[in-house]
Symmetry: C2
Amino acid sequence: MTHLLPLADDPAPERADAARNREAILAAALRLVRTRGVGCVTMETVAAEAGVGKGTLFRRFESREGLMGAVLNESETAWQASVISGPPPLGPGAPPMERLLAFGHSRLRTNLTHAELIAAAGRPGARSAAALSFANMHVRYLLGELGVTGDLLMLATALLAPLEMVVLDQQVNTEHISLERIEAGWDDLVHRVVGR
Amino acid sequence: MTHLLPLADDPAPERADAARNREAILAAALRLVRTRGVGCVTMETVAAEAGVGKGTLFRRFESREGLMGAVLNESETAWQASVISGPPPLGPGAPPMERLLAFGHSRLRTNLTHAELIAAAGRPGARSAAALSFANMHVRYLLGELGVTGDLLMLATALLAPLEMVVLDQQVNTEHISLERIEAGWDDLVHRVVGR
DNA sequence: AATAGAAGCGGACCATGGTCCGTTTAGGCG
DNA sequence: CGCCTAAACGGACCATGGTCCGCTTCTATT
């Protein structure tokens, strides 16, 4: 092993034109999703709008789900930022319980807002596993602050699960449960899990 | 209102050939799914195997997801039966808490077993809303027996959510969490929700 | 600056889900 | 029993996601 090798060097540092295209595609996709709605955006349309060939789309984003996942990630990242460093009670500065409740409500709204995109992005794995487990991490941290003991990974998962789109979709669209009730239900769950 | 009208009469009592075909399709689909795996079953294949035209598939089952949902329902129904009238602790006869835990474990295994089919069946709505809310109903009932008070619909949803495939998939396939740990986590959740 | 080889490109092509509509058939009725 | 209508049928057809491979473009090297 040579001492000059930088560690964790990207095996293939992405060529300039490739980067340009990736950006163009993402921008085009975002634009089209905004204007026409997720359902009316075909891969061919995106390719045309970005001024690249269809093959390029698939090479960079693997599949339609992958592309939608990437688009989704844009907002997801912004959201993460506001959790990490935004104003309280969602961001730091408020007591843990308040933060936790704010977190749940915020996540709820966010998911509902991006419902279509989430559906189009399909199962996880498209969104980087890291991005997905961010929420879990954060909840775990807050539970720790609250002095909860036990298998925090599992508890965080349990708290997050009812906020998943599959569940929300069912509640909102077939059972017609109000947002307020869902929020209240989640708050109740939190209190039971934390143990007062 | 004439007194001769039977109540809740099916507006269109399904023609004989239609019924025959529906059964043939379902049987063919089940057979193919069993032998080739969900991923390798195309609508055309099913149509051929059932000896009907493709159009017929789509008329009776709406979409691929619909068909897969119908196939899934077969096993789902069997499972429901064993919950309602099978041997304890899953079926009646055991104390509520035992039943609830058994229920969770059973649901966990069942979902994992049918993972592919569930994915192929897509979002709910394909499976009748009734079938889907059966689990919720049952959990609500058991919570009642356990003397839990509060918004039971929400609590049941909270308990069921971590057993959804989206969540399980993530845990099993990307986080590589063992089945035992997931079960233990769920048991813990139940105890916290019920409040000892 | 020229060159070589890798990386990227793009559009023709394929597979499959989903639609449509002219034809066939069940089954109630005179 | 033969007719009539609504329902069901089926396969040609379309749209779109995804693959493939010959051609182009980048960039490291001399």
